[in-house]
């Protein structure tokens, strides 16, 4: 098992070490070469300046010492003096004196000679020009040549050319090259140990931390680095150790959280299993509840229908009951006045019998209308609408509500006629309440049917209060009503939608008119009607 405290055992054969070593060495070598490249021209210039200074000094000395001889054409002295100068100064290779008049003197350590002016290497045009520099020697190599005018009291006497040996100059240059080479070699040699230890010093702690980080990444959170340095690397190692400790602590906390989570998951799983086991029963229960609720709704709807029917019967019976009451009052009155005869009794008895028969028929009609038929059949649309309208006719007339029915004949629908009649009654009832809610002075309800292809659209329109757009999406919900408490159950429109869309496979849609509401029923026309058409 590896020690949690990483030792600094690190082979230098890692990439960062090689890079740092290479960069350090290259940089040092480049700086050395750059230093050499920069220093060589400076040294060369300095040496040339020394040569120039030497040349000017020698030329002035020669001219000063030979001035009298030059002015008196004592060339013997000039030669003698310059020979001595050459003998005493080994760096001077030759002296060339070119007077404006006469022959030139070429004096060298190996000898001297007179040159015709035409053969002198300096042209008269250059007599007044000072020049200097390194030139190639005829025998090979190089020499420093200095040419200066010879003037006495501002008068140009001629020109002097002095050639200096450049061996010292070249030796200095070579020495400089040699030193730079030595320095470069020394640098190269120094780079090896210095660069090695420098790169090692720099990269070893980083590599140690990197190794530790790899261990931490592989999960060894007990890893620590031990680098005792008072610099950023030391700070990094301490921060690293703190970070690893924090990671370990976090991992412990995370493990605890995971453990808790696993327990919770187990519990939830058990609960879910239990739920799955009871789900079927729950679904059955819910369906049962739903059915019960639907039955309740249907029951409530029937009760509401019964209420409507009773109301309608009450309206239908009010007139015959009044008439019957009048018959009884006539009988009583004729009896009191003694005019009750058998004939009149028979007449009033017949009349009363007719009224009772009419009332009985009314009950039969209502009973037949609300007969809970569950058998689907094909029925006539116009007849169904008219039958429903007849039931509410008295009530509507009582409130002066005009009911207009525009329904083409011979439109047959498939469904339960009682359910459809209940739909029409619900819609007419809502229309009635709507126009009464605003005390419409000219209340009107229109039932309009028309065929569109294989469908029929039945619109029930009123000019009542209309429906607030904000509750338009809620009007089909059960027990939702805008009527006053006790006047509405909130199940009429819900049952209407259920009958139209679930039982008769049609659509029910409500929309506001400019004044009032339109309820549109769209139903498929019976195949019987289509065939007949």
């Amino acid at each position: 098992m590896t020690s949690p405290w990483l030792s600094v055992r690190l082979l230098p054969a890692n990439r960062m070490f090689i890079r740092v070593f290479g960069v350090f060495g290259s940089l040092l070598l480049a700086m050395t070469i750059l230093y050499g490249l920069l220093i060589i021209p400076l040294q060369r210039d300095s040496l040339l300046k020394v040569l120039y200074s030497q040349a000017t000094t020698v030329s002035r000395s020669i001219i000063q010492a030979s001035s009298d001889a030059m002015l008196t054409d004592d060339f013997g002295f000039v030669v003698e003096h310059n020979l001595q100068v050459l003998q005493n100064n080994k760096s001077i290779q030759s002296v060339l004196i070119v007077p404006r008049r006469g022959s030139a003197l070429s004096i060298a350590t190996s000898g001297w000679e007179m040159l015709p002016a035409a053969k002198a290497p300096i042209k008269p045009a250059d007599y007044d020009v000072e020049s200097y520099g390194i030139v190639d020697a005829p025998e090979g190599g190089a020499r420093y040549r200095y040419i200066t005018p010879i003037r006495f009291s501002g008068v140009s006497w001629g020109v002097m050319q002095i050639d200096f040996d450049t061996s010292d100059y070249e030796a200095n240059i070579n020495e400089m090259y040699r030193q730079i080479t030595y320095i470069s070699l020394f640098t190269l040699l120094a780079i090896l140990p210095i660069g090695y230890f420098f790169a090692l010093w720099l990269t070893r702690p980083i590599a140690t931390i990197s190794l530790a980080a790899s261990r931490v990444a592989s999960g060894e959170l007990d890893t620590h680095v031990k680098i005792d340095r008072n610099d950023e690397i030391g700070d990094l190692s301490r921060s690293f150790n703190q970070m690893v400790q924090a990671l370990a602590e976090n991992r412990r906390q995370l493990e605890n959280v995971n453990l808790d989570l696993e327990i919770k998951v187990t519990e939830r799983t058990q609960e879910l299993d239990e739920l799955n086991r009871t789900l079927d029963q729950r679904v059955r229960d819910e369906i049962s509840k739903r059915k019960e609720q639907e039955q309740l709704l249907i029951h409530q709807s029937r009760l509401a229908a019964m209420g409507e029917m009773i109301g309608a019967i009450a309206h239908q019976w009010r007139q015959p009951l009044n008439a019957l009451s009048l018959v009884l009052q006539n009988i009583q009155m004729q009896y009191r006045v003694g005019q009750l005869s058998e004939t009149s009794m028979q007449v009033m008895q017949d009349k009363a019998q007719q009224l009772i028969l009419r009332m009985s028929q009314t009950i039969d009609e209502f009973r037949n209308f609300f007969k809970p038929s569950k058998q689907a059949e094909t029925f006539d649309l116009a007849h169904a609408i008219q039958a429903a309208a007849d039931i509410l006719e008295g009530m509507l007339k009582n409130h002066n509500i005009q009911l207009d029915i525009d329904c083409p004949a011979d439109i047959h629908l498939d469904g339960v006629p009682g359910e459809f009649s209940q739909v029409i009654l619900n819609l007419l009832g809502n229309a009635r309440d709507a126009v009464l809610a605003i005390n419409q002075p000219q209340p009107r309800i229109l039932i309009h049917a028309k065929t569109v292809g294989k469908q029929v659209c039945i619109d029930v329109e009123d000019n009542g209060v209309g429906i607030d757009e904000s509750i338009m999406h809620k009007i089909y919900e059960p027990y939702f009503t805008t009527k006053e408490e006790g006047k509405g159950t909130g199940i009429g429109l819900y049952m209407t939608k259920m009958i139209i869309e679930n039982n008769m496979h049609g659509l029910l849609a409500a929309s506001n008119l400019e004044q009032g509401v339109r309820l549109r029923i769209t139903l498929p026309i019976s195949a019987e009607s289509v065939t007949a058409a």
Partner: protein, 291 residues
């Protein structure tokens, strides 16, 4: 003094055997004969070399300098000086052959030594007598030049030189040659070695100058042992000196003094000087008798 003189002295000291610690070598130098060098520097150099060489070879070598040949002669005769270093003419005028013993001299390869009377070839001077009325140069403080030129004047024209042409003196041979070359003088009496050196430096000189008279000797300066010196010491010094050029130090000295080699010299080699001296004495005596 000719460089060969100093070289001679140094080589003697250099080559002296180390085994004879009690040997004494006292060298006497006649300084007026030294040209082209600082006399003080020469004296110091000679003494330093004498000390160095003396210690190396077990010889108590000492350099003495003189400005008067008479004094040098006295010290030599008194036994103080073993080696006399001086120009040949001064030696001949001061010493007799019997008072001297063989010594050494620096020589040049191929070129002998002596005097040459040079003129410009283009001047049409064919014989000595043509120098009449001309300007003639010779070395200053050079007894040999004075004696030789005077003898030539007497010999060729029978009159003194001062009556024949204008005589001017120059300090250095090379300067004298250049003055003739550049036409600042008509003739000059110079050393043969100097003329050879001038010719070497500038071949134009050889072409433009011509030797009118020539007098040859083995050397212009000599280092001769005093006849009073012990013969064994003389022989030992001579024997060592002959090996001087084979040592590193000896070669350095030869190079330094521009001398090709060291050669043994016999007293008899100074015979031209003694002849010249006697001839000059004869003219002088004749002149004195005329007066």
């Amino acid at each position: 003094m000719k460089p060969a003189i100093a070289l001679l002295a140094l080589l003697i000291g250099l080559c002296a055997p180390a085994s004879r610690a009690a040997d004494i070598l006292n060298m006497g130098f006649y300084l007026p004969g030294i040209r082209d060098a600082n006399l003080a520097d020469v004296h110091i150099t000679l003494q330093l070399w004498a000390d160095e060489v003396g210690k190396a070879h077990g010889i108590a070598a000492t350099a003495y300098t003189y400005t008067d040949m008479a004094a040098l002669y006295r010290d030599s005769m008194g036994g103080k000086i073993n080696l006399i270093v001086a120009p040949g003419m001064e030696i001949a005028e001061t010493f007799t052959p019997e008072e001297l013993a063989p010594g050494f001299v620096g020589k040049h390869h191929g070129t002998g030594e002596g005097l040459a009377l040079i003129v410009r070839a283009s001047d049409g001077i064919r014989q000595f007598g043509d120098l009449r009325g001309k300007k003639v140069l010779h070395l200053s403080n050079d007894r040999l030049s004075s004696v030789f030129l005077e003898n030539q004047c007497r010999q060729h024209t029978g009159v003194a030189c001062t009556d024949l042409f204008q005589v001017n003196e120059e300090k250095r041979n090379s300067q004298t040659i250049h003055k003739v070359f550049f036409g600042q003088a008509d003739a000059a009496l110079v050393s043969i070695s100097a003329l050879h050196a001038a010719n070497e430096l500038n071949p134009q000189i050889r072409q433009s100058l011509r030797i009118l008279e020539e007098w040859k000797v083995s050397s212009l300066s000599y280092g001769l042992m005093s006849a009073r010196t012990d013969k064994a010491l003389r022989d030992r010094i001579v024997k060592s000196a002959m090996q001087a050029t084979t040592t590193v130090r000896g070669k350095q000295l030869l190079e330094l003094f521009k001398t090709d080699f060291m050669d043994r010299v016999d007293v008899q080699e100074l015979k031209p000087y003694w002849d010249l001296y006697r001839e000059h004495q004869a003219w002088s005596n004749r002149k004195a008798r005329k007066k």
